[in-house]
Amino acid sequence: MSDILILGLGNEIVADDRFGYAVIDELSAHVPDGGIVEAVFAPLAGFGLLDFLKDRYAALIVDAIMTGNSSPGTLYFFTSGHLTPTRHLCGSHQISLPAALELGRKMGYDMPKRIDVLAAEAEDITTITESMTPAVESAVAKAVDQVLAWINEVSAEVNNVNKIAAIGS
């Protein structure tokens, strides 16, 4: 299992909720299979996140967010300890991410030492469509750059600088 997880959340057929899917899709060209980084999209929450996160060193969650306080496409970055709600960090039918992490620790799982969140302000999260709104669509490339920078930083933490050089190239 890869030490570093990039986990896109969302729904690939709901407007700006595709953001996590789109970022992972773009990212796949930069992240080789079998390396220390794994980039996956999962339409999950709660318990499902626990399954993905256990036994990782670090994880970056990529998702849509709707604060209403910024223009659509604005990117937010939240670090461990300041997990701000994105659309899927807690499903209404699931447990919250903090609860999932606590549950994992109680179960004796090795939970990530670092979980950060990269989120894009969404404009439309109720229309069933395979198209994002233009502002969110245009934020994807910038988000991919930020993810790659994050991978570089975290990879250094796990002393795998050589491998990440190939990923970022």
Partner: protein
Amino acid sequence: MKTVTIDPVTRLEGHGKIHLFVKDDGELANAYFQVPELRGFEKFAQGRPVEEMCRITTRICGVCPDAHHMAAAKAADAVYGATIPSAARKLRELVYNAFFAGDHTTHFYALGGPDFVCGPDAPPEERNILGVIAKVGLEAGKAVIAQRARGQRVIEIIGGKKVHPVTALPGGMSKRITKEEQAEMIKIGDEMVEFAKFTIKVFNDVVLANQQYVDLILSDMYTHKTYNMGLVDKDNKVNFYDGQVRVTAPDGSEHARYDPRDYLEYVAEHVEPYSYLKYPYLKKVGWKGFVDGMDSGIYKATPLSRLNVADGMATPLAQEEYEKYFETLTGDRSGKTMVHSTLGTHWARVVELVYACEAVAQQARDEEICSDKVHEPPTSIVGEGIGIVEAPRGTLTHHYKTDENGIVTAANLIVGTTNNNAPISMSIKRAAQGLIKKGSEITDGTLNKIEMAFRAYDPCFGCATHTLPGQMPLEVIVRDADTGEVIATRRRNV
């Protein structure tokens, strides 16, 4: 009370918002629960092959992808006039029961159950699975995680993928299973039955042993004498995958028993001017407003409803629990006296969980599931099909019309929670009555009681949630019944 007309532009909308309309004398006039619903499904479906709907609709909802997969597959079967091979039907039902076993586990241990296991007065941050573990022990957490993994494994074996199954298609299933896979599923089924017994013990020890909780279940605050709806098999036993839709009246008499293809003869949708939500009701009884009773067409479609409309459960342990449930809540173990206590839904869910586990153990042993004949390719087309399954949170209907090539021209869904929109609003009103007064402060205790009212329905807006800060977001807005003016708000996790 004056009639309140709200301009459509300002229609109520939002995530987990509850609007309470209070009259001048302080009396609560009405209560409405609002969630955003996904839009544009019909447009999205148009022009696509109907067989794609089985896979696409799993994406609509992250909570019940398996339910959409099966309802769409059954509707697509009907579009092609296909009768699927017996082995395919058995595989579909087996995987569907495994899905139910996992989903009901999540709800009981992580969402609804904590109200009872931890207590209705426990702080929100403790009313979750961590609170359950604190009360019941670490073994509960381990058991829940193992149970979820079992359900996912069966879905992976039969459905082809862990999360979003892909193998049901018009005419049957696209994947056969091996003897080795069957053996694994038999083992999983047996383990599921042990988990079901564990859950019964938890429920007995923690909930039923506490008379205060039983009294809460039976309290008037959460009681509505509505009609009930659910699928039943030929013997009137609960069935999640197939059968006829049975509707019983508040007095327990049979109102209707119909094939899914006839649903439009029985169900209509009411629209209120202030809301985008639709409120389904029984056509032959009629919409009489947000009231219960024999003359009101409002019905519930929940685990409680399924037990009400059925004459029993098809497996022995579940039947035992069914009888105990009815005896405790109505004094009549036959099940002919309806349970109308909304909070009884949590117990009904446990009875269904037991059935789902036993059904997996039984059906996994059927030699026919290893048959090579799991698909009969359709050779003709009808052009219209309706598929109904029971989603964990209510009756789920998929309805498609296609052209002669099977390309979708029209689509309609009635998802599980939609059935319960009116009862949810009624339950919230009942819970809020006496607690909400004009000028009075909305306390956390008020929020708890209101939350419990709608949580029992397991309302599904996992597919349409906005920001979710770790707990169920909830915003209560008190409005003047005459002017619509906001006079108080209380937020949690919004």
